[in-house]
């Protein structure tokens, strides 16, 4: 049986990839994907600890999180579409008017 630490390392790796993507990429779609990576890193943690302690609550939670992620992606894609309509591109650094 694979020890829990490996899962946690995997999760940390996925999270870091997500953070890296969010910090470096300007394409809104990649941006969104990176966010998904971070979210799923959290999911991995849930499942790993659920497995470790033999408690199913964590796995149930991760199911809910996936449903939530689906909804979030729907909203995110919507925003990307609006972004494209307004600016003819999907670069997240272009729109800067939403500030003071």
């Amino acid at each position: 049986m694979i020890p829990t630490e490996y899962y946690l390392l995997l999760s940390a790796a996925v999270f870091c990839i997500g953070v890296f993507g969010v910090l470096t990429r300007r394409n809104a779609l990649v941006f969104l994907m990176s966010v998904e990576l971070m979210l799923n890193a959290a999911n991995l943690n849930f499942i790993a600890f659920s497995h470790q302690y033999g408690n199913l609550v964590g796995q149930t939670f991760s199911l809910f999180t996936m449903a939530l992620a689906a909804a979030e992606v729907a909203v995110g894609i919507g925003i990307v579409l609006v972004l494209y309509r307004n600016f003819k591109e999907v670069d997240v650094t272009t729109p800067t008017s939403m500030r003071w």
Binding site: V19, V22, L23, F31, V92, T93, T96, R99
Partner: protein, 672 residues
Amino acid sequence: MAGALEFAAAIPALPFVGFLIALLAGHYYPKLLPKGGAIPGILATAGSLLLSAWVFLAVGSGGEMNEEIYTWVAGDGTFSLHFGLLVDPLSALMVVLVSLVAFLVHVFSLGYMNDEDEPGLPRYYAGLGLFSASMLAFALSDNLLMSFVFFELVGFCSWWLIGHWYTNPGPASAAKKAFLVTRFGDYFLLVGLVGILGTFGTATFTEFTETAATALGPGGADVTTFFGLDPQAWFALLGLLVLGGVVGKSAQFPLHTWLPDAMEGPTPVSALIHAATMVAAGVYLVARMYGFFALLPTVLAVIALVGGFTALFAATMAVVKREIKQVLAYSTISQYGYMMLGLGAGGYVAGVFHLLTHAVFKALLFLGAGVVIVAMHHDEDMWEMGGLKDKLPVTYWAFLSGSLALAGIVPFAGFWSKDEVLHEALVYGLGGNTALLVAYAFGIVAVFLTGFYTFRMFLLTFHGEPRSSTAESAGGIGWNMKLPVAVLGALALLIGFVNPALVSDLTGANLDFLHSWLEGPIEATAAGHYEELVTANAAYAAAEFSALASAGISLVFALAGVGFAWLLYSGPEPVEHTEKLGSIKTLLYNNYYQDEYQVWLAEHLTLPVSRGVSKFDQGIVDGIVDGASSVTLFSGAQARRLQTGRVSNYVTLLALGLLVMLAALGVLGGWF
């Protein structure tokens, strides 16, 4: 007869309704308002008069009332504030007096205002209605707080009515002056009121006077005092504070300056203010809480001295005035001085008696002066008059009755009351109280001057040859002006007989009706109770002095004054003898430069102090507030640079924040 007392609240309510009708109808449907609001006003005050008379009869047959009718702040573990009615012989007498004068003034206004086509009639009658309502409520109030509220309303209404012709600068500034000067006194009253509430936990007249009496009595109940003063000194301070309001309202020295200026208002208003409402309110307040003042010899002495001095001081100024209403104004100040003297001398009944008779004859004199002024087409200078005797016979005889009453000639009203005031002062003064003797001396000299200036005014107005074309063609006075004057003229002759103490002393018959009347059903407000207090607490001792001799002295002085005036002014062509006084005349004519020094005080003392306070407020208090806001503004302007609008920046910040938190957690949690 308990039925009448249930309607006591309607006495002030009726003129208030009259006020509302005149105000609202006058504003929205002026055409619907008969006589510009006079009719509702007359009906309302007539209703009040009838109700007051009914209540008066009910009190006469032993009725009384002392209860709360509306609690507007219910105290939880502390005192409550309420409105209530106190119907006892004093207030019953006062409401009859006030509503009678108010009624006659309303009728008189028909002639003075309506027939002269004055503008703003609904405003005028609304003011009269509110004025009467406030004064009636003031007279009936059962606690000092309610009294204060209506005291202020009375002051407000006097501002309203004195400034009736507000488009002229004179009345407008006179109205402001009356308001401000009386307000100055009222501040003291307000502080005194708060002090009384804090000390006794109640402002109800019958309650706190009793508590004060027991606190100062033998054995002494415990009361809260402030500033480490013993009860006697603390109560005296409270009494003096309340007296501040009285001095302002009753136009006593040095706050009397507003009253002569108030003559700028319409003459019926002057009659109302001086006879029964505004000015009477101060003296009435002293009489109302006499159970408190009677405990305090210092305050009583101050009252007597202020009163006596004012009586003399005002009388000297009345001697040189040219305008008929100015003479009356100063005589009003002087006569209220007598009332204060009477009250201060322990003569509760005497003071109230003089209040009663003065209300009648002063209303008469003012309304008579109003007739003269209308007949003279608003020329008030007495040196333009003369010979009005044949033109205005009814007014002449009524005015003569009022003048005799004012001068204090037997058997007119003023004689009986003024004599009783002076007798009280003399008797207690000889009993070992020097302050009262001094006050008596002031008073007795003022009697001479009163006789003189009254008959100077009377002779100049009605006797001799007409000194102007207006005086030759004077006339045209309607019934609505003659009737009130005639009624009051008869009353001025008769009202003194409600308490001819002198006659009872001589014949042994019990004719002191007012004295027995004021004995009253409520122990705490009975005249006899006050007398005990004055003797026991203020250590007033009465010396034996024949009432007849005292009356003789004042009558001789009064007759001397009248005779002197007759000597100087009775010829067909009188000359201005006052010119011979030279610089004294200038001094008197300018009212001892009282206005000037008060204005100087305002400009050179109050104004710099206010400037300093304003500077402190603008600089320090506002500075702190402004500083706090500019610090916030500046830091906000700096901090908002963080918000760039770029999502990537936010994410960077979030990630950095996460790192910092991790590091902090690591350091604090001891990972390293």
